[in-house]
C-alpha cells in the first residue's frame, strides 16, 4: 500500500468533512463501484475499534468557550435521534460529560492536580474487550461484533435491564417511556436524523461507535464533530493494527482507563 493506515483514516475523515461521505457518497456511485470503494477504505476492516480521548485538548477547548464545548454530544445525539427527557432519572446518554471524580471514582485524591479536579470529562460506552453486558444478556440482543464494537439489536431486546446492572460504567440507557412522547419543547426537531431509526419504548440503548457510519467508511459522529472544530481530541482507530493512530498515541502518551481492575478491558483510553 502506498499510503499507510493513518493516512487512509485521514483521507476518509476529510472526505466526510467535505460532505462526500455517507449516503451522498453511495448515491453518486454506480452499481459495482460501491463495492470497490468500500474495499479501499480501511475503516470497514477494523479488528478492535477503540478511541483515545486527548483530554488536554478537550478541556482546553471547553475552557475556551463561555459555555464549554458540547459539539461531540450534540452531533451524536442528533445523528442517533436521542431525545431529551428533561429528567436525569430517565436520561438517554450515548456520549456525555461528568466530573473527573465521577468518571474515575476509584482514584480519589483530595490534593489532586487542579488541571483535572472537577473538570468535565467525556464519557461513552467503553466497548469493552470483555463486556459484562454481553455476558448477561438473555437474548444476545447486545453482542460484540468481530470488529470489537459492542452493539445493540433493538429488534430483539426484551428490556430486562440485566445489562444495565452489569455495566460498571453507567453507559446503558433504558427507554422508560416512548421517545416519541418526550417533551416537545425540549425536542423541537425530533427526530433529528431521518436516516437513522428511533427507538421503541422499553428497549435499552447505548453508544454504538457509529457502526452505521463506520460501515460507510466514515468516522463516528463525535469524532467528526471534534475534528470539524479542529480540536481533534477524539481519535478513533484500530487497536489491532500496530501502526494505527491510536496505537501510536498509546505508545507516546501515558493513558488511563475507567475501572481497569474489573477486567472488562475498556477500549477507551484517556490522555490526561
Amino acid at each position: 500500500m502506498g499510503v499507510d493506515r493513518r493516512e487512509f483514516l485521514k483521507i476518509a475523515g476529510y472526505a466526510t468533512l467535505f460532505g462526500l461521505g455517507g449516503k451522498a457518497a453511495i448515491d453518486i456511485l454506480a452499481p459495482g463501484e460501491l463495492e470497490a470503494s468500500m474495499e479501499g477504505i480501511p475503516l470497514t476492516q477494523g479488528k478492535r475499534w477503540s478511541m483515545v480521548l486527548d483530554m488536554r485538548k478537550c478541556l482546553k477547548q471547553q475552557e475556551a468557550g463561555k459555555d464549554g464545548c458540547k459539539e461531540c454530544i450534540i452531533a451524536c445525539h442528533r445523528e442517533h435521534n436521542v431525545p431529551d427527557w428533561g429528567n436525569p432519572m430517565h436520561a438517554i446518554k450515548w456520549i456525555w460529560q461528568d466530573k473527573y471524580e465521577h468518571v474515575f471514582p476509584d482514584t480519589p485524591n483530595q490534593f489532586i492536580d487542579e488541571g483535572v479536579r472537577h473538570k468535565p470529562f467525556i464519557l461513552m460506552c467503553n466497548h469493552c474487550f470483555n463486556p459484562p453486558c454481553v455476558r448477561v444478556c438473555p437474548t444476545q440482543a447486545t453482542f460484540k461484533r468481530d470488529d470489537g464494537i459492542v452493539s445493540m439489536d433493538m429488534h430483539r431486546c426484551i428490556g430486562c435491564r440485566f445489562c444495565m446492572a452489569a455495566c460498571p460504567y453507567g453507559s446503558r440507557s433504558f427507554n422508560w417511556g416512548d421517545p416519541r412522547k418526550a417533551p416537545k419543547e425540549l425536542n423541537p426537531d425530533y427526530p433529528t436524523n431521518p436516516a437513522y431509526p428511533e427507538r421503541s419504548m422499553g428497549v435499552v440503548e447505548k453508544c454504538n461507535f457509529c457502526v452505521e457510519l463506520v460501515a460507510k467508511g466514515e468516522f463516528p459522529a463525535c469524532v467528526q464533530a471534534c475534528d470539524k472544530i479542529k480540536v481533534n481530541a477524539l481519535n478513533f482507530g484500530d487497536l489491532d493494527a500496530p501502526e494505527s493512530n491510536v496505537r501510536k498515541l498509546l505508545r507516546e502518551h501515558y493513558t488511563i482507563r475507567r475501572k481497569p481492575a474489573l477486567g472488562t478491558e475498556p477500549n477507551l483510553f484517556y490522555i490526561i
Binding site: 460501491l34 437513522y196 421503541s200 460501515a215
Partner: protein, 128 residues
C-alpha cells in the same frame, strides 16, 4: 340427562356466538387492495426483488436484512439483477416507496397485520 334443556340452549348460544363473526361479515368481502407505486418507483422499474417475490416475501427479506445488517454488519445487498443496495427499510425502501399509506398500510390493514417496524423506523412525510 340432567338439565338436558339447559344444556341444549347453552350449546345453541355457544355455537351462535362462535359463528357470529361469519354472519356479521357475510357478503361483505372487501376487495384486495392494490399497492400504489410512486412516480419514483415507477421510474426505477426494478426493485430489490421481483414483483412476485416482493409481494410474497418482503417481510422475510426485511427480516434477513435487519439480521445481517445489524448483527453481522453486512450492510449491502446484491439483488437478483446484480445491483447493489444499502440494506435499509427507512433509507432504501422508503426512498422509492415513500407512500406508506398507499403502499404498505392498505394491504397490512386488509390482512390485519400490524408490523412494529414503524415503532422505530421513521415514515417519510407523504405529499397529499
Amino acid at each position: 340427562m340432567y338439565d338436558g334443556g339447559k344444556i341444549i340452549i347453552g350449546l345453541i348460544i355457544g355455537i351462535g356466538l362462535f359463528l357470529s363473526p361469519f354472519f356479521y361479515n357475510a357478503g361483505k368481502a372487501a376487495k384486495a387492495p392494490d399497492p400504489q407505486l410512486t412516480e419514483k418507483a415507477k421510474e426505477a422499474q426494478v426493485c430489490v426483488g421481483t414483483k412476485e417475490y416482493m409481494r410474497e416475501s418482503h417481510f422475510s427479506l426485511l427480516d434477513e436484512w435487519r439480521h445481517t445488517a445489524v448483527r453481522d454488519g453486512e450492510r449491502y445487498y446484491t439483488a437478483y439483477n446484480g445491483k447493489k443496495y444499502y440494506k435499509s427499510l427507512q433509507v432504501t425502501c422508503m426512498d422509492c416507496h415513500s407512500n406508506k399509506t398507499k403502499f404498505c398500510d392498505q394491504c397490512h390493514n386488509y390482512l390485519d397485520v400490524d408490523p412494529y417496524c414503524w415503532d422505530c423506523h421513521i415514515v417519510p412525510e407523504e405529499k397529499k
